[in-house]
Amino acid sequence: MSGLKGLAAGAALVAAVFSSTAHAEETVVWWDFLAGGDGVRMKQMIEDFNSAHAGEIKIDATTLEWGIPFYSKVQTSAAVGEAPDVMTYHASRIPLAVEQGILQKITSADWSAMGLSESDYAPATWSAVTVDDAQYAVPLDTHPIVLYYNKDILGEAGLLTDDGVPKGMGSREEFTDMLNSLKEAGVKFPLGSVTADGNFMFRTIYSLMGQQDGELMTDGEFLVGDNEKKLENALSVLQEWTNAGLQSTYTDYPATVALFTSGEASMMINGVWEVPTMVDLHKQGKLFEWGAVELPVIFDHPSTYADSHAFAIPANKGKEMSDAKRAAVLEVMSWISKNSLFWATAGHIPAYGPVTASADYKAMEPNATYSSLTENMIFDPKSPLAGIAGPIFDVMSTYFVPTLNGEMEPAEAVEEIKYELNDMD
């Protein structure tokens, strides 16, 4: 009896060993930098992926600190073969990553294995992950900045249209008038601006340059021709609002969000990634009625700065990726892209076309209101100097902060910025 039992157990063990070698569960090590409200939603998507692929693929995810810490760690770990199998990456950082050789190409075989192709993406988004005709990442979303507004305050001041969007969005005068009326209505800060963080303000100022068709970088040189003037114009508008007491001064990122959510600032220019913050607060009954729209047209035509979160496969030195592992990584990127409707609840605009074309997406608010801006998006200049936490950011930030708070003349700032940008190499 006991002998028989032992035999059966042995047979079961053998079977288990065999089956596990035949269908080994592939573990995909994943790094991201999504720590805010969008991080919570990404964790949900990872869980959904894992349960849909139980026994086949398992994502082992770690969230690291956004910005310089994340990108420093990726560089050094790829160099010694300790990078993950897949990671999130900002499209703006791809030129530098390619120069450093830390990303693997996404080949046309990979694209067809994922069932994705160029036609699924907006041209600007596709171009943002392309360097020298090769793709280095799979775009997940684009995340522009938008104008958040407090419907209660604007409504009371009679500044909303019948559709519930702000009235004065068409020109510099209209928008400034709207800010003035809000000031007169007793609002402490008509516009909450991240004036203490030049890194952040780069997005707003770059958008305002885009509204004048300005270019930061032309053939490897910075602020050529009248682009200098266009940057100065952008800085002048913002400084004018500061001098007139229309926007918050020396306010860092968390403080700006706090000013808006507490009602002290009636409008705020910020990234779409703050949408989940507002949604969650509103659900708990701690927030007024709010909305988000495309940036106002201050100059010639609408234009908004955007970056893109994408998935990239690190080039691990001395550690070849097995075919099975690569197939699993491709499945991860493909599945998450195709199921990125949920990612839109994090405020981001999914990059995968069929998702944004779907009826479900078009019914989502406030996404549907601001998704018009996808036609007017501009990305960072394609340069190893550009991108989140890159050298351009530091130069800009150093002069934006004093200028936006009225300490330095825009013309002087532009001169200094131009000198330093061209002196960076």
Binding site: T76, A196, T249, Y250, P384, T398, P402
Partner: protein, 294 residues
């Protein structure tokens, strides 16, 4: 006899070998590599071509390097000397207390020293944040204009120096207290028999006998503050990073942001030589002034 000596040398060698090996691996080797790297155009990771003194000559006309060098010295001037004398004054005060009260007050002054820099940053950001800082509300009450402490170049270094002194002076106080206790009581008794004034006691007894400790504290502080990085990085993130550059931060920018390992190494070599020269100078000066008193 000869054999014995050799035997002893062998034992000595085995005893120091682990230290020498580790020291060589984690200090000597990287230092040599740093010197070699500074003569190449290497990226952050991997090797580069030999470029001679290019990386150094470029420093001469590099505006950001100037800022970093000037700010580093400015910060040292603001933190080392005041920090040392504040620590001395506090330790003189604590030395007058007795028993439990002394231990309690010492603990209060030592407490900030055990905090990690991230906590120090958070505490002071809560205090001095322009929109929500506790101090700003106090300013409002007093009718003083709010000051954007970490966003204005005039206030940044003094504020960070003050915070650094607050953070690190606990350790210096300990050193001074040890020094004060090492001064024989008999000397003070003899002085009181002669009816010496307090100032005379300090000037003629405490100050000269404390001199070796003062020199030590000063040297430790000097080396530490020349290498300032954490506080400056944390407090200027998002703000005026390039205005607030210090040498180590500049090394970090060149290496990790611009991917220029060779140029970063050149800055690091300059800092390395600076630390050596300044600390040797400081120690020699302190020794000279000490021998004059003797």
């Amino acid at each position: 006899m000869l054999k014995n000596r050799r035997h002893e040398a062998l034992i000595a060698l085995t005893l120091v070998a682990p230290f020498v090996a580790i020291y060589g691996l984690v200090f000597i080797y990287p230092t040599i590599k740093m010197f070699i790297l500074s003569f190449t155009d290497a990226p952050l990771i991997g090797d580069g071509e030999y470029v001679g003194f290019d990386n150094y000559t470029r420093l001469l006309r590099d505006r950001r390097f100037d800022t970093a060098l000037w700010n580093t010295f400015y910060f040292v001037a603001l933190s080392v000397v005041p920090g040392t004398f504040i620590a001395m004054a506090i330790s003189l005060g604590i030395n007058r207390l007795k028993g439990r009260l002394q231990a309690f007050v010492l603990a209060l002054f030592f407490l900030p020293y055990i905090l990690p820099v991230s906590v120090v940053f958070t505490i002071w950001d809560w205090t001095l944040n322009f929109q929500f800082g506790v101090a700003m509300h106090v300013f409002d009450l007093l009718g003083i204009d709010r000051v954007p402490v970490f966003k204005s170049s005039a206030w940044f270094m003094p504020a960070v120096a003050l915070i650094t002194v607050w953070w690190t002076c606990g350790f210096s106080i300990l050193l001074f207290l040890a020094g004060l206790r090492a001064i024989p009581v008999e000397i003070y008794e003899a002085a009181s028999l002669d009816n010496t004034s307090r100032w005379q006691v300090f000037r003629r007894i405490t100050w000269p006998l404390l001199n070796p400790i003062t020199a030590l504290v000063m040297t430790i502080q000097l080396i530490l503050q020349l290498k300032i990085f954490d506080q400056v990085y944390l407090f200027s993130t998002g703000g005026r990073m390039n205005d607030n550059l210090v040498l180590v931060l500049y090394v970090f920018q060149r290496a990790f942001q611009s991917n220029q390992g060779g140029r970063a190494a050149a800055v690091a070599v300059v800092l390395f030589l600076l630390v050596i020269i300044v600390s040797v100078l400081n120690f020699q000066l302190a020794r000279l002034s000490g021998s004059r008193d003797r």
